[in-house]
C-alpha cells in the first residue's frame, strides 16, 4: 500500500498537469545539458590519452618540459644507447611524431599527424586493425590510417596511395576507431619514414618508450635513467597521462568550459524546479495549513514537499537518460564522443536528486511560515 504522504505528494504534483510537464521538461533539459558537458569532459579526457593508453611502455623518455603527447619535441638518438645500457631496461623504442601535409591523389593537401614507431618491441603500433597486418607496414612507404578518414585522405582502402613530402605512401593497414580529438588524422608509419615525412633530422626522435625487464623495479630503473640522461624527463605512463590531461583539460581551458557548462545546466535546473515547486506549494498552501491545523509536524509537511521534489527528480532523470542515450549513441563514432559510464549515470542521478531537494528549500521556507489559523478564514 502506498504511504499517504507519497500519495499526497504525487497528487499535488500531478494536479496541475501543465506545470508538471513544464517541470519535467526543465529537469530533462538541465540534466541532458549536464550529461552532455560531463560526457564531453570524460570523452575528451579519454581521447587525449589514447596514444599513451595504447603503448605498452613502462616509462616515457621525453625532453624536459613536454606538455602532452602531441607536443613536438626532440631527443637525440644517441641517448637510446645510454638508456639501453641502464640495468633493467629491456627496450627503449624510438617514437617519432609530428605534423605533415598529405597530398591526395587529386592534388589537394590536408594536414596529418604522423606517428612513427618500430613495429616490434615496445613501439607504439596501430591497433584495432580492420584490414591489413602490422607486418605489411615494413614495406617502404607503407602507412596505416583509420577507415573513418578515407574520404578526407582521398583513399578508399588498402593499396591506395598518396604523397607526403613528395614521397609516395601506400595504405597497407586500416584501423577502426583511432580518431583524434584534434580531427587531424593519425598516420602510422615506420620510424625512418616518419622522420622524413615530418622533416625531422635523422639523428632525432620524439620519445623513447622504455620497457623495464621483468623483475626490475620501475622506480629504480627510472632513477638510474635520470642519472645517465641529463636534460630529459622520464615519466611513467600514468604520469604522462595525467600531464597530458591537465594540459588539454586545464591548460587550454577546455575542461573549465565544460565544467562551466555543466554548472550552468545544474543552476538552470535548480531554478526551474525551485520555481515550479514554489508555485505548486503556494497553490496548495491552504492544504498544508490544514495539515498543520490537524496537528501535523513540520517534518511531515517538509517530507511531502521533498517527496514531490524527488518524484520530479526520478521522472525527470528517466527522461534525461532516454534523451542522453540517444545523444551518446549519435556521437559514439565522432571525433569527440560523449561518454556515459555507470558511475556517471549514478552521479547524475544523485545530482538530480540534490538539485530537486535543493529546490525544495524555497517551498519549505514558505511553508515554515504557514499559520494554521488560515484554516479559519474563508
Amino acid at each position: 500500500m502506498m504511504p499517504l504522504k507519497f500519495r499526497l505528494a504525487y497528487r499535488n504534483l500531478f494536479h496541475d498537469r501543465l506545470r508538471f510537464i513544464a517541470t519535467i521538461v526543465g529537469i530533462i533539459f538541465s540534466i541532458v545539458l549536464v550529461t552532455v558537458q560531463m560526457g564531453l569532459y570524460v570523452g575528451f579526457r579519454r581521447m587525449v590519452t589514447t596514444m599513451i593508453d595504447h603503448s605498452s611502455a613502462d616509462l616515457w623518455i621525453m625532453p624536459a618540459g613536454t606538455k602532452c603527447f602531441e607536443d613536438p619535441s626532440l631527443l637525440d638518438d644517441r641517448q637510446r644507447f645510454r638508456a639501453l645500457a641502464v640495468e633493467g631496461v629491456a627496450d627503449a623504442a624510438p617514437l617519432v611524431i609530428g605534423y605533415a601535409q598529405w597530398r591526395l591523389p587529386s592534388g589537394t593537401t590536408t594536414p596529418v599527424f604522423v606517428v612513427g614507431s618500430e613495429l616490434r618491441g615496445s613501439g607504439l603500433r596501430p591497433w584495432n586493425l580492420a584490414g591489413g597486418r602490422i607486418d605489411d607496414l615494413t614495406v617502404p612507404g607503407a602507412v596505416a590510417i583509420d577507415q573513418s578518414y578515407f574520404e578526407r585522405l582521398g583513399v578508399s582502402g588498402i593499396g591506395d596511395s598518396a604523397e607526403i613530402r613528395d614521397q609516395k605512401v601506400q595504405v597497407m593497414a586500416v584501423t577502426k576507431g583511432i580518431r583524434s580529438f584534434t580531427t587531424t588524422p593519425y598516420v602510422f608509419a615506420g620510424v625512418d619514414r616518419a622522420r622524413s615525412y615530418t622533416g625531422m633530422a635523422a639523428n632525432k626522435v620524439s620519445y623513447f618508450l622504455v620497457r623495464v625487464a621483468p623483475g626490475s623495479d620501475v622506480g629504480r630503473v627510472r632513477r638510474q635513467l635520470r642519472d645517465g640522461l641529463p636534460d630529459v624527463e622520464i615519466l611513467t605512463a600514468a604520469e604522462f597521462r595525467s600531464r597530458s590531461r591537465s594540459f588539454w583539460l586545464f591548460g587550454t581551458g577546455a575542461g573549465a568550459a565544460l565544467f562551466a557548462g555543466a554548472l550552468l545546466g545544474f543552476i538552470v535546473g535548480t531554478v526551474i524546479v525551485a520555481q515550479t515547486l514554489y508555485s505548486s506549494t503556494k497553490d496548495h498552501l491552504s492544504e498544508f495549513a490544514t495539515l498543520r491545523a490537524i496537528g501535523s509536524s513540520g517534518a511531515y509537511i517538509y517530507l511531502v514537499i521533498i517527496l514531490q521534489a524527488l518524484l520530479s527528480a526520478v521522472i525527470g532523470f528517466c527522461g534525461a537518460v532516454a534523451i542522453s542515450s540517444v545523444v551518446v549513441g549519435m556521437t559514439a563514432d565522432s571525433a569527440l564522443p560523449i561518454v556515459m559510464t555507470p558511475t556517471m549515470a549514478l552521479a547524475l542521478f544523485l545530482l538530480t536528486g540534490v538539485m530537486c531537494v535543493a529546490s525544495a528549500i524555497a517551498a519549505i521556507v514558505q511553508v515554515m511560515r504557514i499559520d494554521p489559523t488560515t484554516v479559519l478564514a474563508r
Binding site: 499517504l4 499526497l8 497528487r11 492544504e287 490544514t290 498543520r292 496537528g295 509536524s297 489559523t373
Partner: protein
C-alpha cells in the same frame, strides 16, 4: 466532577491590525470537562470561532491562559502546539478544509497519518460508516454534497479519538435526519468520561443533546445553563 480536558482562563484576544484591530474576546473563561457536551451559542461575530481556535491551540491568546489537560500551553512553540493538537484535539472547521485530491477515506486517514498511526484504512472506513458515508469512501470531495463533505470533516476530527472534540457549526450543512445522527454521535463521544465535546451552533435542535449551554456575545460569556434547563427552554 472529572478534570477539564481543555480550559481557558480570562482569555483576551485581539484580531487584525491597525484600524481593523478588533477585540474578539474580552476576558473569557471556559472549561470543557470529560463526559460533557457543551454548546457554545451566540450571534454572528460574537467570538465563537475565535474562542474555539484558542481552546484548540490553533491560536494563542493575547492574554490569559489556556490549559490542555491541566497543562498550560503558553510556553509551547508552534511545533509543540502542533503536537498538542495532534494528540489532544479533534477540530471540525466551519469550512471543511478537505483535501480535494484525496478520497474521503484518505482525507480521514490523514488525521491518523500525521500521528504516525498504522491500520488507518479500517479505522477510517469505520468512522465514515459512523457518519453514514460507508458508501462514499472512494469519492473525492468534489463529488460529495456539502453535507457529505461536512461529515467527512467530522469523521476526520473524531477518527483519532482525541479527548477534546471542538466543532464549529458541525451540522450547518446537514438535513434534520443527518444533523440528528451527527449530534447523537458527538453525544456518544461525550459519554466517555475522559472525552469532552464543545459545539458551536445556532441550531436549536441540538439543545436536547447538551449537558451545558454557554452563551457568548460581543466577546464575553453572558450566560450559562445546564442541559436540563435547556431542555425546558427548548420545550416551552
Amino acid at each position: 466532577m472529572s478534570q477539564p480536558v481543555v480550559d481557558a482562563v480570562d482569555v483576551v484576544k485581539f484580531l487584525g491590525r491597525g484600524a481593523g484591530r478588533v477585540q474578539a474576546l474580552k476576558g473569557v473563561s471556559l472549561s470543557l470537562r470529560g463526559g460533557e457536551l457543551v454548546l457554545l451559542m451566540g450571534p454572528s461575530g460574537s467570538g465563537k470561532t475565535t474562542l474555539l481556535s484558542i481552546l484548540g491551540c490553533l491560536m494563542t491568546p493575547t492574554s490569559g491562559m489556556v490549559r490542555v489537560r491541566g497543562r498550560p500551553v503558553a510556553d509551547l512553540d508552534p511545533e509543540g502546539l502542533a503536537r498538542i493538537r495532534r494528540d489532544h484535539i479533534g477540530f471540525i472547521f466551519q469550512s471543511y478544509h478537505l483535501f480535494p485530491t484525496l478520497t474521503a477515506e484518505d482525507n480521514v486517514r490523514l488525521a491518523l497519518d500525521v500521528r504516525g498511526e498504522r491500520a488507518q484504512r479500517k479505522a477510517a472506513r469505520d468512522v465514515l460508516g459512523m457518519v453514514g458515508l460507508a458508501h462514499k469512501t472512494r469519492a473525492f470531495p468534489g463529488e460529495l454534497s456539502g453535507g457529505e463533505q461536512q461529515r467527512v470533516a467530522i469523521a476526520r476530527a473524531i477518527v483519532g479519538k482525541a479527548p477534546a472534540i471542538l466543532a464549529d457549526e458541525p451540522t450547518g450543512a446537514l438535513d434534520a435526519q443527518n444533523g440528528q445522527a451527527i449530534m447523537s454521535l458527538l453525544a456518544g463521544i461525550a459519554r466517555d468520561q475522559s472525552r469532552g465535546v464543545l459545539v458551536v451552533t445556532h441550531d436549536p435542535r441540538i439543545l436536547p443533546f447538551a449537558s451545558r449551554i454557554v452563551h457568548i456575545d460581543d466577546g464575553r460569556i453572558v450566560g450559562e445553563e445546564t442541559g436540563s434547563e435547556a431542555k425546558k427552554v427548548s420545550m416551552s
